[in-house]
């Protein structure tokens, strides 16, 4: 037996058909057990009150950011386990770790969880953690709405995740094309779960989009004109504007499918002249901007990380901003490249193929500008920078294969094949995931006050990146060998075996990387390396002028911004004392008061959604009334603020050594 066969054999021994492999239900049981354990802990330690006051009702963007981060990491684990199950099933021909039905459920959840419940919240975590601080604001524009967004997202995620134990899981793929997703072919409640969880989470996402758009436009510190704004704030602004117009078409696509399924409408059914392709059209009007929603924040993060760890100003700031704008603008006009095969005719295909290719231009400008930023710098190989350095050579491959996909007749051969799977993991993992991980390591000290152990983090990085290449490069070739996506298994003799085997091994390497990352976090928490300076990386933007973590009110004194990279300039010009306050100039500070309304509102949404999923309409109505009640309560209670008095501010700042004497 060759080594390869031997390993395959071993894995098959470890996981006999449909027995041992952690079933999705198993994951749910694990999550439930974990939740119960946490609850027991809270009860024993009498921490419920603390949890409620400090976290569940908080409207502080910093805490909301942390909650987003935790949720995103849990979902990364969940989507990652799905990925491992996919890859294990595909390790060799005719493998039967799962049945076809289960396989369909697994890839559907994998895609849905990763896109909507891992990548999006990860991005929002970093927006929340960093954007208000770097623009010199005390909070986002609508703090309570921010909490509503989070809780709505969280309950949406729960909704999708419980489907596996309660009622049945969706299995029509992450884009859930009709008529397959219609009642005639998909009679269970799984598809309802899919539709409602995305619908609910989508509402929260739109609210976040509005919130950050207004925050960036209206809450900047005096003096920080748009042209002095950090690029990450720019990327938050532009991502938000994409959210605003990408999500409504999704809402419509999902909503109409729901009307078909629950109320007998005829939008995308086969009978009564329904038109399934209209769903596809609407879905991708959303779907394409969505992938840029995922990548723009990563671009923003890299534009912060590169200058800091090259000790050099960003090259071509204006071009960086301009290219973000250009990408977002173009991304509204390319969606047909996901269905060139629908027969819309050469005119349509050529138009959308060329518009797709155009995106390579602004993206290329960004790639080169990062390289030029490093040129003539002094590159420090810290963990955030390592992720950035891995990103460049990786993303350029994924982007370039994207351009190959955009060449219409060529796409006739790539579409729905593993070539396409390879493309998008290449950009999503190599772009978005590398990006948000870079950002996580970068802002971690600011969020938590302690640093992650760099050596462990480097090992995690090495495994993950090596695993990435081993996993996804073979998939390009699988595509050229005619392997299509979503195959529950495949026969031998088509030449797919060894490439698939390597791909599977790669995913195990990524898993090792992820486990080290988790270990890294736990270990570093137990042996904290406190960040006492507030500026562990020798940063350039305003968040590093604050202590880590920042006090509740962020800035005791709002800075007056004079230049781009203001904190860097302060350090160069010896103005760092500007951030200190003097005892006689302290003002009381207003901060928004905690509110139970957001979590109640989201819970009402959840109840209503469960009612819809099972067609228990009394429950749906109950949930709807709950939503109205929560909104009314919020409206009548009026928005309330808490005033932190000057003495308290002074004491807090003094404790951090930030008072001028």
């Amino acid at each position: 037996m060759s080594m390869r066969e031997w390993i395959t054999h071993l894995i098959k021994l470890l996981f006999p058909p449909q027995v041992l492999l952690p079933d999705i239900v198993g994951i749910d049981i694990g999550l439930t057990v974990g939740a119960i354990a946490i609850m027991v802990y809270l009860t024993v330690r009498h921490r419920w009150g603390w949890l409620w006051r400090e976290w569940l009702t908080t409207v502080d963007h910093k805490k909301i950011g942390i909650m987003y981060l935790i949720a995103a990491l849990v979902m990364l684990f969940r989507g990652g386990v799905d990925a491992l199950m996919i890859r294990t099933q595909l390790i060799g021909p005719r493998a039967h770790f799962m049945g076809a039905q289960q396989y369909d459920e697994v890839f559907t959840t994998h895609g849905t969880v990763m896109i909507f419940f891992m990548a999006m919240p990860m991005v929002f975590a970093l927006f929340n953690a960093a954007v208000p601080l770097m623009i010199g604001a005390r909070d986002v524009a609508f703090p309570r709405l921010n909490a509503i967004s989070f809780w709505i997202f969280a309950f949406g995620a729960i909704l999708l995740n419980i489907s596996f134990s309660i009622g049945g899981s969706p299995s029509a793929g992450w884009m859930s094309y009709p008529p397959y997703s219609e009642l005639a072919y998909n009679p269970g409640v799984g598809e309802n779960y899919f539709l409602l969880s995305l619908q609910v989470a989508g509402i929260g996402t739109i609210a976040t989009g509005i919130n950050f758009l207004v925050t960036v436009l209206r809450m900047r510190a005096p003096g920080m004109s748009l042209s002095k704004m950090p690029i990450f704030a720019w990327s938050a602004l532009i991502t938000s504007s994409l959210v605003l117009f990408a999500f409504p078409p999704l809402t419509v696509a999902l909503g109409l499918t729901m009307l078909d399924r629950l109320f007998g409408a005829s939008f995308f059914t086969v009978a009564h002249q329904g038109m399934p392709m209209m769903y596809v059209n609407l879905f991708w009007i959303f779907g394409h901007p969505e992938v840029y929603i995922l990548i723009m924040p990563a671009f923003g993060i890299f534009s912060e990380v590169v200058p800091v760890f090259s000790r050099k100003a960003l090259f071509g700031y204006e071009a960086m901003v301009g290219s973000l704008l250009a990408i977002s603008f173009l991304s509204y006009g390319v969606w047909v490249h996901h269905f060139f095969e629908m027969g819309a005719g050469p005119g349509v295909n050529v138009f959308f193929g060329l518009s797709t290719m155009l995106i390579a231009i602004p993206t290329g400008v960004k790639m080169f500008n990062w390289l030029f930023t490093m040129w003539g710098g002094r590159i420090r190989l810290t963990v955030p920078m390592l992720w950035q350095l891995a990103f460049i050579p990786t993303f350029v491959v994924g982007g370039a294969t994207g351009v190959m996909l955009a060449a219409v007749p060529a796409d006739y051969q790539y579409h729905n094949s593993y070539f396409m799977i390879a493309h998008f993991h290449n950009v999503i993992v190599g772009g978005t995931v590398f990006g948000v991980l870079s950002g996580m390591y970068y802002w971690w000290p600011k969020m938590f006050g302690w640093k992650l152990n760099q050596r462990q983090a480097t090992w995690a990085f090495a495994f993950f990146v090596a695993g990435f290449w081993v996993t996804f490069m073979p998939q390009y070739f699988l595509g050229l060998e005619g392997m299509t996506r979503r195959m529950a298994t495949y026969p031998a003799g088509l030449g797919w075996t060894s490439l698939n085997w390597w791909s599977t091994m790669g995913s195990y390497l990524m898993a090792v990387g992820f486990l080290i990352m988790v270990y890294n976090i736990i270990w570093s928490r137990l042996h904290p390396d406190w960040d006492t300076t507030g500026d562990p990386w020798d940063g350039r933007t305003l968040e590093w002028s604050l202590p880590s973590p920042a006090p509740e009110y962020n800035f005791a004194r709002i800075p007056h911004v004079r230049s781009r990279d203001e904190w860097w300039a302060m350090k160069r010009e010896g103005r760092t004392d500007d951030v200190k306050i003097s005892a006689d100039s302290v003002q009381p500070i207003h901060v928004p008061r905690n509110s139970a309304m957001p979590i109640m509102l989201a819970a009402a949404f959840f109840v209503g959604s469960i009612g819809m999923v099972f067609s228990w309409f009394w429950m749906a109505i109950l949930g709807g009334l709950g939503v109205v009640a929560a909104l009314a309560y919020g409206s009548f209670a009026d928005y309330s603020e808490l005033t932190i008095d000057a003495a308290h501010v002074l004491k807090t700042e003094a404790a951090m050594g930030r008072v001028d004497s």
């Binding site: 524009a141 609508f142 709405l145 739109i206 989009g209 509005i210 919130n211 758009l213 207004v214 436009l217 209206r218 809450m219 605003l244 117009f245 999500f247 409504p248 078409p249 809402t251 419509v252 696509a253 109409l256 009307l259 078909d260 007998g264 409408a265 005829s266 939008f267 009978a271 009564h272 002249q273 329904g274 038109m275 209209m278 609407l282 009007i285 109205v628 009314a632 409206s635 009548f636 009026d638 928005y639």
Partner: protein
């Protein structure tokens, strides 16, 4: 705590409130996206009538005209409510608001009656893609109006309870934006759906 400039509408004098108004505008623009998608669906499905009625057979001029006139008038009374508030006439503001919501309610009632008539005539939305698109587009607008009515009721109560506070002025202002926006959607509805269908 904000600077007050005398010649600025009261809704904007408080920085928080002015930011909220901007947020509301942004929300309205996402609603533009929502309705555009529904209009796109309707436009594509318009001729897909299967065995059901065509637009020409389904629509009648009378009821649409009535509904339109009612809604336009409510838009006008809504603007009078805001006008009164700016003149610091609380009574007027509340009164015009109530007139607005009554007009809105009669609009919704008429619309529901139309729908019920269609359905009892055997033209339920499951009979063709066109009917599905029609009911959903018009119904989405109608449910927006309904939400607006609930909102107006709460707003009237708050005005009565707390008077013309800065916050209430802002709420009235955003409500007015919402209401006029629905009017704009209706303008496109009767033009694209009804009038083009009857032409």
């Amino acid at each position: 705590m904000s600077t007050t400039t005398a010649d600025r509408p009261p809704e904007f004098q408080d920085m928080h409130e002015s930011i909220r108004i901007m947020g509301f505008w942004i929300f309205l623009s996402t609603d533009v996206g929502l309705f555009s998608s529904l209009f796109a669906v309707y436009a594509v499905f318009r001729s897909r009538v299967a065995l059901g009625p065509t637009p020409h057979q389904l629509f009648a001029m009378g009821p649409v005209l009535t509904e339109t006139l009612i809604l336009l008038t409510s838009s006008f009374t809504c603007s009078l409510s805001l006008y009164s508030a700016r003149m610091n006439r609380l009574r007027g503001a509340v009164a015009w608001l109530i007139v607005t919501l009554l007009l809105g309610a009669s609009f919704v009632t008429l619309e529901i009656r139309e729908f019920v008539a269609d359905v009892t005539a055997g033209h339920g939305w499951s009979h063709s893609a066109f009917l599905s698109g029609f009911f959903t587009l018009v119904g989405t607008h109608g449910s927006h109006v309904t939400i607006g009515i609930v909102w107006a009721v709460m707003l009237a109560l708050q005005l009565a309870m707390k008077g013309l506070t800065v916050t209430n002025r802002r709420k009235l202002y955003t409500f007015a934006l919402y209401w006029h926006f629905l009017d704009i959607v209706w303008i496109f509805l009767f033009s694209v759906v009804y009038l083009s269908g009857m032409a």
